[in-house]
């Protein structure tokens, strides 16, 4: 179980910075989920640096340096926490008098409810609502247990993961683990069929877990995959509130494609987690540092980690940067600050703070972007999708209506069949629900929906420009690409249905 120690050590060190002063279960669990992801992300950067610096992952020095650094980070974090003045929370009675929920007292979320169609909060002292709440929690718990067993069963049948996992991600991890201490690990960049341009978050994390274990266990990559899958579900459930949280958690697990990808040990679920977490921190309202400098830093770091996980994450980082710039340059409308929907803009409710937070977001992403730039410019070969392609060829593909139609039809067909046969059309239906709440819901929900829509559009354009056979390319990858967006899509629908107000308001 030294693999678990390898994952928990950096997570605990990051959690020291992220956990709230007063432990409330929702925000603490959300912070813990984010700390797990960020811990794995930052530790993968350190592992890559150590291996590139000539320290073998099989040596005791590798583990000693890694452990010493994370213990030091935790100690610094703890020291900073002790120095920080303790904030006083409003009293329960006072909060209730103001109409705030007692469950998330510190988050200060007003709970005045819409009169119709509201699933957000049960009315007090109603035995029927108690029973409904218990049933929803029971349903989610049942789904979570069954999903866990399902993933474990699949993992047992696929100890090395599915084709892409062993041909790409775990293979790169083997090069890093076995070839460290010399330049032998760089041979991975010569294997053209193994996507050598893919970033190293997942391979370096696996190699690091093996370093702690002292051998190449098949449990290591399976455990990392499970951590990202569970963290995604936990983050959605804790970012949302009330009954919608339990329904959303159950809905995520209903997508068998999501569970299959968890067991596959590929980088798609980690990427889905980073996209979800970045959106939840930047736009959601369930996290205690929402709207603070820490929130912007964390959102920036999470966006950067998406790019350090998979090439598709680069698109997400770009979109998040565009959103941050759009918020900062958007002219403020006088008299709208009292309007909740206007204040639900990402990063900050008003422009002065938006500029500051966009800046801190970029600071958060910077270390990861620097590492990625070093990787892309000095180590990785160019991607097979762009290599040898001329602008005239790309333009001719983009102007070919038959190609557009073929890609669109294939994507729609796969989206409908995604997670079938039982959860058939779950993705398009959720997408329509997200569009519905985005039209009505305003600021945050609209921005998140636009970001996901642009991600989907970018995937579509890559298929149209692809040098490979379109049918083969779409058929072998689109199911995984939809997994990238799935947890965020459920979160958007959940936020839209609950109509949350930022705690800053």
């Amino acid at each position: 179980m030294r693999e678990a120690l390898a994952v928990l050590l950096p997570a605990c060190a990051v959690a020291v910075f992220l956990l709230p002063d007063r432990l409330r279960w929702r925000s603490s669990l959300a912070a813990a989920a984010i700390a797990l992801g960020l811990g794995l992300g930052f530790s993968s950067l350190l592992s890559t640096a150590l291996i590139a610096g000539g320290i073998a992952a099989t040596s005791i020095g590798f583990v000693a340096i890694d452990a010493a650094l994370w213990v030091s980070v935790a100690a610094v974090g703890w020291w900073l926490r002790l120095r920080k003045p303790v904030t006083t929370l409003p009293s329960l009675a006072g909060a209730q008098a103001r109409g705030e929920t007692s469950l998330d007292l510190g988050d200060r979320v007003p709970v005045r409810q819409a009169k119709a169609g509201d699933l957000h909060r049960p009315s007090a002292n109603d035995p029927r609502t108690d029973l409904t709440d218990r049933l929803l929690r029971f349903a989610f718990g049942t789904a979570a247990i069954v999903a866990f067993i399902s993933v474990m069963t699949s993992s047992a049948a696929l100890p090395h993961g599915d084709w892409d996992a062993w041909a790409i991600w775990n293979q790169h991890a083997r090069f890093l683990f076995r070839g460290g201490g010399s330049d032998e690990w760089r041979a991975l960049f010569s294997i053209r069929w193994s996507q050598p341009d893919y970033p190293l978050l997942l391979p370096a994390s696996v190699a690091r877990v093996w370093a702690y274990a002292g051998h190449e266990s098949t449990f290591g990559p399976a455990f990392i995959a499970m951590v990202f899958g569970m963290a995604s579900v936990v983050l959605v459930v804790t970012t949302l509130r009330g009954r919608v949280a339990w329904i959303a958690g159950t809905l995520i697990l209903a997508a068998s494609a999501f569970l299959t990808q968890v067991a596959s040990q590929c980088a798609d679920v980690p990427l889905a987690f980073f996209i979800l977490a970045a959106l939840a921190v930047a736009c959601g309202d369930g996290l205690h540092w929402q709207g603070h400098r820490t929130g912007a830093l964390v959102a920036g770091a999470l966006s950067g980690m998406a790019a350090w996980t998979k090439n598709e994450g680069l698109v997400f980082v770009l979109l998040m940067a565009i959103v941050a710039v759009a918020v900062t340059v958007r002219p403020s409308r006088p008299g709208h600050d009292s309007d909740t929907r206007v204040r639900l803009r990402p990063f900050a409710p008003w422009r002065g703070r938006a500029v500051e937070q966009a800046w801190w977001g970029m600071v958060g992403a910077l270390p990861v972007v620097i590492a990625l730039a070093w990787f892309k410019l000095s180590l990785a070969p160019s991607s097979g999708l762009v290599e040898g392609q001329s602008l005239s060829v790309i333009a001719s593909r983009l102007l070919d209506p038959g190609r557009h139609a073929a890609v669109a039809v294939l994507m729609v067909q796969h989206a409908i069949r995604w997670s079938g046969p039982v959860a058939i059309a779950i993705f398009p239906l959720s997408g329509l629900a997200a569009i519905g709440v985005a039209i009505r819901g305003g600021g945050v929900v609209r921005t998140m929906t636009i970001v996901l829509g642009m991600m989907l559009l970018s995937y579509y354009l890559v298929y149209v420009m692809s040098p490979f056979d379109v049918t083969w390319h779409v058929s072998t990858s689109v199911d995984r690409l939809l997994v990238h967006l799935w947890p965020s899509l459920v979160l958007i629908v959940g936020i839209g249905l609950t109509g949350h107000v930022s705690r800053l308001s």
Partner: protein, 137 residues
């Protein structure tokens, strides 16, 4: 605070109940599908190539003899890929001009294959995959 359309609460509850039941059925279906999943062949193939790894140097390129026929068949592509996965950080390349050559089962032409002229077998796995070494002159 805003209201999400004017949907009657009974309708929202009904939709929620349908979504919940649908989700639960789907999760159980996923479990059932997972439990009928057959064992992946990668682990077995990996064990085969591990027995050959003991006779190889710890780094450097290793040749892999392409199949005489149907070299691009998925199971044969998988065999080559698993050889690379197993033998990392060595580079397994589809060429025969190297010191060591892996010859997968069924890769040789029946009745003698001139591509392995000058090589001698030095190791063999239980399932018939072989490692050849170039004969010193």
């Amino acid at each position: 605070m805003y209201t999400l359309y004017l949907v009657p609460s009974w309708l929202m509850r009904a939709v929620s109940a349908v979504v919940l039941v649908w989700s639960l059925v789907s999760v159980f279906a996923a479990w059932r599908a997972a439990s009928t999943r057959t064992m992946d062949p990668v682990a077995a193939l990996e064990t085969e190539f591990r027995t050959l790894a003991r006779s190889l140097p710890s780094s450097g390129p290793v040749g892999f003899l392409p199949y005489a026929v149907d070299d691009d068949r998925p199971d044969r592509v998988m065999t080559y890929y698993v050889a690379q996965y197993t033998l990392a950080p060595r580079l397994v390349e589809r060429r025969t001009d190297l010191q060591f050559l892996i010859v997968a089962r069924d890769a040789l032409r029946p009745g003698g294959d001139e591509r392995i002229a000058g090589f001698v077998p030095i190791a063999s796995s239980r399932d018939g995959h072989r490692l050849y070494q170039r004969q010193t002159q």
